[in-house]
Structures are given as C-alpha cells and as structure tokens.
Amino acid sequence: MRDSRMAGEKQHRLRFSLRTSLGVVITALICFPIYWLLISSFKTQAEMRLAVPTLWPQSFHWSNYAEAFRIIPYARFFTNTLVMSVGIVILQLNIALMAAFAFAKGRFWGKEVLFFLVLAALIVPDQVTFVPVYVMMSKLHWLDTFWALIVPSGASAYGIFLLRQAFKSLNNDVLEAARVDGAGRFTMLYRILLPMAKPTVVTLGVLTFISSWNSYFWPLIMTNTNNMRVLSVGIAMLRDSIAGDEAMYFHIIMAASVMAIIPIVLVFTVMQKHIVSAMTNSTFK
C-alpha cells in the first residue's frame, strides 16, 4: 500500500518534470525571435551571411548601434516617440479620470445614453476616422506637429470604461465626508478617488504608454518630415532608405529595433502582474 503510494508520487513527479521540460522548450522557442533580434544586432555584415548561422555573435559589434544613430536621426525619433507617448498618456488619463468621475459618481440628465455613446466608440476602427481627421489636421496646420500625434487620441473609451468600473467599486462615504468639509469636485477626484484607484490608473497609464509607443498607422499618416517621425515609422523608413540589397543592413536595423523595444520590455517586466489582472478583468463588458 505504502509502496504503491510512493510509486504514484514518483510517477507524478516524473510527469511534472516532463511537463516542465516541455514548458521550457516551448518558452525558449517563443522567445527565439527576440533572441535572434538581439544577437543579430551585434553581428557584422559578414557574420550575418555565414552559411551556418552563429547562435552567439563572434564578437560584439556595438558599432551597429552607432551606425543606426548615423543613418537615421535616431535620437530625434526616440525623443518624438517619448513625447508623443507621454503626451497621450497625460491627456488620456485626465480626460478619462474626469469622465469616469462623472459617469460613476455624478448625476445628470442623459447619463446612460451618453455612457452608451462612449462605449460605442470601442467598435469604431481607426480606419473609419483617419481620412476626415487627416483633413481636419491639415486644415488646422497641425500635420507634422505633436498636436496631430497627440490630440486625436485624447479620449479613450476603454480608459473611461476601466476607470468608471474602478470608481464605482469605491465607497461613497469618503466623498460625502469630503463634501461636508467643503471639498470641490477636483479635490474629490484628484485627492480622494485617484489615490484609491491608483492600481487601475497606473495600469491604464502603462497600457496606454505601450500602445502609443508601438503605434504605427496614425503617426505614419500624420507626419511627413524626419523631424517629426516616431521610432516605428523611422525604423520602417530606415529599411526603405537603404537602396538595393536590404540584407546588407539587417544588423543595423536589428540594432535600431533593440533600442526601440528596451523601454517596452522594461515597462512590461515591472508591470506585468498589473497588466495581466487589468486585462483579464476587462474582457467581459
């Protein structure tokens, strides 16, 4: 009896370690393109062309990174991307905080209908709005400025929805007490509700940052000079600007790409737990 239980335990453990090994192999496989990106960014042009590819660079050529800075105005693109992403985060968060406050705690005529209009925005794809918005930006002379990159993304239906959920779950007593103390609405929102809903706000900010950092379609349309290009568009241009055999320059494209994903990998690693919980909480609307 005891022997058989021990044998069962052993079998169970064996199966678990097999499962873990399979897991490790699959994780490595999915990770591989990122690994390949990283090591390719350190190879020389000659090493990139070897008949039997090397899985570890023969020597680390940091000069590829310097080259990326030389071929395209990399620092400018990086700054543009950062300014655009931070700008969108600040604008979107503030607009969403205010709207979420109104829809969660306020009372006014037509609230339900208006909230439905906010939610309905979720199903309108970017392609539906880009031509009229492009024309609008062009008439305002905003094309190729940060205005065109940031302002049209000001309201996020997803953000309003997420924050409204968070605010609704908070108790009204604290707000009532603040009101008795003579607190205005901005004080209630920014001094009381915001700290209480901090995890949601931070997660929303991070998700907005990542998606703005990665955006391509919108910045591609809204900008037309090197001065205003963002990284995603700049890296695509880097490839197009190389005449002839693009295979000659992949090591440099890879170096430029590595630098562009570093902020995302850092942010993701730090915030992963929050991202996962926010994501799974918002699936069923």
Binding site: P33, A96, R107, Q127
Partner: protein, 322 residues
C-alpha cells in the same frame, strides 16, 4: 447618493451656490440643476473629444463615401452609390476580401488553438518558474508589430535568412517566403500568431481558473479520464472566453495592416492585399478618397455585424447561466 443631501447640508449648499455665482435666493430646485450641470461638466471633455475625433469623422466618412472626392483636387461632387457600385463590380474587392478572410481564419484558428494548448500546459498554480515562463510567452503581445515584422523579415530572407538556412540543411530548396504568392500570406500569419498566442493563453488560463473545482472533483469520483474532463468540463465552461477571443481576434485580424506594409506591400500579385492595406493605398497613394471611404464603410459594416453577434450570443449565455 451624492446629491440627495438632507437638510443638514443646507448651509453647505448655500455656500456652494454662492461660490458658483448664484444669488442666495436660488431655490433648491435650481441648485440641483447647477450641481447636475457641474457633474455633467466633468464628462464634457471626453464627449467633445469623441464628438470631434470619432463621431464627426464617422459621419463625414459616410458622406465622403458618396462623393467622387480625390484628395489632390478640391472638387467634391455627390455621386450617390457610385463608389459602392464600382467597388462591387471590381474583381479586386473579392480578391481583397478573400485574402483578408483567409488571413483572418488562419490567424484565429492557429492563435486560439495554440493559445489553448499553452494554457493547458502552463496553468500551474503557485510556481514562480511557471509564472516567469507565462510572462515570457505573453511578452511578444506588447512588442511593436513593426519590429516583430522586421525580425521575421530577416528570418524569412531568401538568401541569408535563418529559415532558409534550416531548409537547406534539411536538404530542401530555399523558398522566397515573402515573394512567393503561396507562402507570403502564411508567413504574415505566423508573425501575428507569434504575437497573439501569449495573450490567448493568459485569457484561457484566467477562464480556467474561474471554473469551480467541484466539477473536476465530481468528475474524478466518476472516474472521468483527463481528456473527457477537458472535453466535457473545461471546454464547455470556457466557451464565453473562447467566444470573446474568437470575435476580438477576428476583428483585429481583419484590420491587418502593419505587417503587410513592412513585409510584403500587398504583394506578390496581390496575394496579401488585405482590405485595410488596400484602403491605405487607395487613399494615400492613389488619392481616391471617396472610393477608399466606401471601402472603409464595407469593412465597418462587417465589424459591426460581428460585434453584434458577439453581444447577442454572450447575452444569451449569461441568461442560461443565470
């Protein structure tokens, strides 16, 4: 609720009313209106932004789709349904819809199947190692499509790419993955699947963790095998999550654009000219703004129908369970 203040807050109301610049004789009824207006003001910025950058452009797009507008010329003439008629008579529309549907179906089926298998494998509680592995698999979801497309373009490179090095080592002829009409589309799908499986896995795992353990315990007492537990408990109870993933993946795959723009430019021989890429070239390289807007509307209607289907079906499921 906030505004239902009782009599003790009357001095406060008065004070607030004075602050708001309302004369002290204001009746309580009026005051309620002002408070409501103030509440409403907080929703105004969002509503303005949505009106200006979403609802107005949406209506404007509908209008443009009925004009012969060409962005390079100032004339904008109303032409009725002409753009739609011409699109429906155009072979390219059916080619583009076919490509989009082909891409979407491959993407949805592969992403969800692999995502579900990964969820089964990686759904292990209280293991730091498994949590780290899940994190790594999930990460590509947040890597820019442009960069993912660049890495895969390099891997697919006909002459020096890793994939052909491997095919050659295995004794096959090298394949021009991105310029061969029969491999270009699957090559694009692979990038999307790579980016998407971690996301699907995470959602499936969260769905699995929501299934009450009693079901499995009861099944274990009945001596159900691992597979039949999966088949008769996990799979049916995951169906709301599966439906959610099918529809959202379907909608986002229908809008495939970035990878095409980077990797194939719609080619070879229109083999990857999916609908959004076609819209983009029609609007910004051919400048047929009216025609492009009509195509946008066709896409929008398809997406709308899918969303309504999801909404109706998920309502029904909730009803059954309730």
């Amino acid at each position: 609720m906030m505004m239902n203040s009782n009599s003790q807050s009357a001095p406060l109301l008065k004070e607030a009313a004075v602050k708001a610049g309302v004369s002290s004789t204001t009746t309580r009824k009026h005051f309620g209106l002002i408070e409501k207006a103030k509440d409403f003001m907080f929703a105004v910025p969002a509503l303005i932004f949505l009106a200006v950058f979403l609802y107005y452009p949406l209506l404007n797009s509908v209008y443009i789709s009925f004009t012969n507008w060409n962005m390079t010329k100032p004339v904008k003439k109303f032409v009725g349904a002409d753009n739609y008629v011409k699109l429906f008579k155009n072979e390219d529309l059916y080619q583009s819809l076919k490509v989009t549907l082909h891409y979407t179906l491959l993407d949805v089926v592969l992403t969800l199947t692999i995502g579900l298998l990964l969820a089964l494998l990686f759904n292990v509680f209280r293991s730091k190692m498994y949590a780290v592995m899940r994190g790594i698999i999930f990460m590509p979801h947040y890597i820019s499509m442009v960069i993912a497309a660049m890495v895969f373009t390099w891997i697919y490179n006909g002459q020096y790419g890793l994939l052909n090095r491997v095919t050659e080592l295995m004794g096959f002829e090298p394949i021009q993955w991105l310029t061969n009409p029969s491999t270009a589309l699957p090559a694009l799908v692979a990038v999307s699947v790579w980016k998407g499986v971690g996301f699907a896995m995470m959602l499936f795992i969260s769905g699995m963790r929501g299934i009450p353990n009693e079901y499995y315990e009861a099944a274990a007492i009945d001596g159900a095998s691992g597979f039949s537990r999966f088949r008769y408990i996990t799979l049916p109870l995951l169906s709301p999550m599966t439906l959610f993933l099918v529809i959202t993946t379907f909608i986002s795959s229908m809008q495939v654009f970035q990878s095409i723009d980077i990797m194939t430019n719609g080619g070879p021989l229109q083999a990857t000219n999916a609908i959004v890429y076609w819209i983009y070239t029609m609007a910004f390289t051919e400048f047929k703004t009216g025609r492009a807007s009509a195509l946008v509307m066709i896409l929008f209607v398809i997406i709308l129908v899918l969303t309504i289907i999801q909404w109706v079906v998920s309502r029904k499921q909730v009803h059954y369970e309730g």
